[in-house]
Amino acid sequence: MAALLAELPRLFTYYNIVFLLTSAGVTLALTVAGCVVGLAAGFVVAAMRRTRAAWLLPVRLVLILFAELFRRIPFIVTLFLVFFISQGAGYNLPLFVIALVAVCIIASAYLAEVFRAGFSSVPRLQIEAAEAMNFSAARILFSVIVPQAWRVVLPAAVAFMVSLVKDTALASQLGVIELTFAGKVLVTRGYSSLLVYGVVLVGYYLMSYPLGRFGAYLERRLSGRGHRPALPEPGAA
């Protein structure tokens, strides 16, 4: 323990701190980009799943398959698939872009499920009433479902974002220089692995914990009285 503490000042040199912070920035960039794309795509997937028109059947089928499959494949396999398929197709994409694509894919698949759960939390009777009043499908979605569903969707989406922060750690296996990879580099430079990984763990904690608290706050705030708090979800894997 004393040896570890003695090593601390040697680890926290100016350049190491800058290195750790920039790589934490990459982790955050992956998370935020994944969430933004995932929210948009997840909404579209969940909305398309609600359509009933016959000519949209193939689209519906593809989207359902997409959302169900990528929630049943480990993130690391998705990551490798994106990497090798892009290589096989002859694109020489930077590793960060590959990780970004993989993160966006799983975020869309998982958030589509979050949206679906939110949409189905709206009482059926209201939708039937809107249909009886000859509301169009889009109008039902935007003036009946969304205004009520977002209270359910928002906390769950934040909870997923927390799990996404941790999942981006797997991008280090591809060689993307994010927080985990920075830890590996520092260990290779000869710093004690317990100390370095301890620092990296604290880094993840600092990113994930406030977000988790924010999600719990949103949930308390948005849901009515007598609501039982949601259980923690491990999210993607």
Partner: protein, 224 residues
């Protein structure tokens, strides 16, 4: 895209992939049951323990749910040997995943424990139910309704999460896929097949869990 798929090269290795799927399930089962024990202990500590115990459980849950399981296993596998604690990749990943699952399961089990209300126990007693009867007819239905779905989610998550072990050289599904990809250079095919096997494993697990829930606990878990 002028890539010719050659699944034949990979299919020659299908016995290995089958064995690897079994290892994946073994890791998931080991971590699940270990995590359940930890979770029950943690939940009991959180509900009935004194302040010190509650604090310890909170730190445990907070730490393991807010940090990546990959780095937790890094610490077990790469950092602990400096202090004389050596373990095989398989042991390290099972311990890591168990600790991780235990943290989530603590919260799940806690929800189950607090879902049983004292009044109901008293009512069961007033009806003259024996201990076993009140457990079977009063406590279990409550707990099952609250925690069965999250428990089955957790198991599915562990089937997928065991893929991390492959990164440490365990020959479970992902690890074997990496090895086969390295020896045959058919990386796209092998990961497509591995992904397909994961989908099959989790669908079978979901359906089984749904049926078990329906028949044993009268709970309707979700499949899709």
């Amino acid at each position: 895209m002028n890539y010719t798929f050659q699944f034949g090269e990979v299919l020659k290795h299908s016995p290995e992939l089958m064995r690897a799927s079994l290892t994946t399930l073994e890791i998931a089962f080991a971590a699940f049951w270990g995590g359940c024990l930890l979770g029950i202990a943690g939940a009991m500590g959180k509900v009935y323990g004194n302040k010190a115990v509650v604090l310890v459980v909170r730190i445990y849950v907070g730490f393991f749910t807010n940090t990546p399981s990959l780095i937790q296993i890094f610490v077990l596998f790469y950092a602990l040997p400096d202090y004389g604690i050596m373990m095989s990749p398989l042991t390290a990943s099972i311990i890591g995943l168990t600790l991780n699952a235990g943290a989530y399961l603590t919260e799940i089990m806690r929800a189950g424990v607090i879902s049983v209300r004292r009044n109901e126990m008293e009512a069961a007693e007033a009806l003259g139910m024996s201990g076993l009867q009140s457990f079977w007819y009063v406590i279990l239905p409550h707990i099952a309704r609250t925690i069965y779905a999250p428990l089955s989610n957790m198991f599915i998550w562990l089937v997928l999460g065991s893929s991390i072990a492959g990164l440490f050289g365990v020959s479970e599904l992902t690890g074997t896929a990496i090895d086969i990809g390295a020896s045959t250079f058919r990386t796209i095919e092998v990961f497509l097949i591995a992904g397909g096997i994961y989908v099959m494993l989790t669908v079978v697990a979901s359906v089984t869990l749904y049926l078990v829930g329906l028949w044993c606990f009268r709970v309707r878990a979700r499949i899709f």
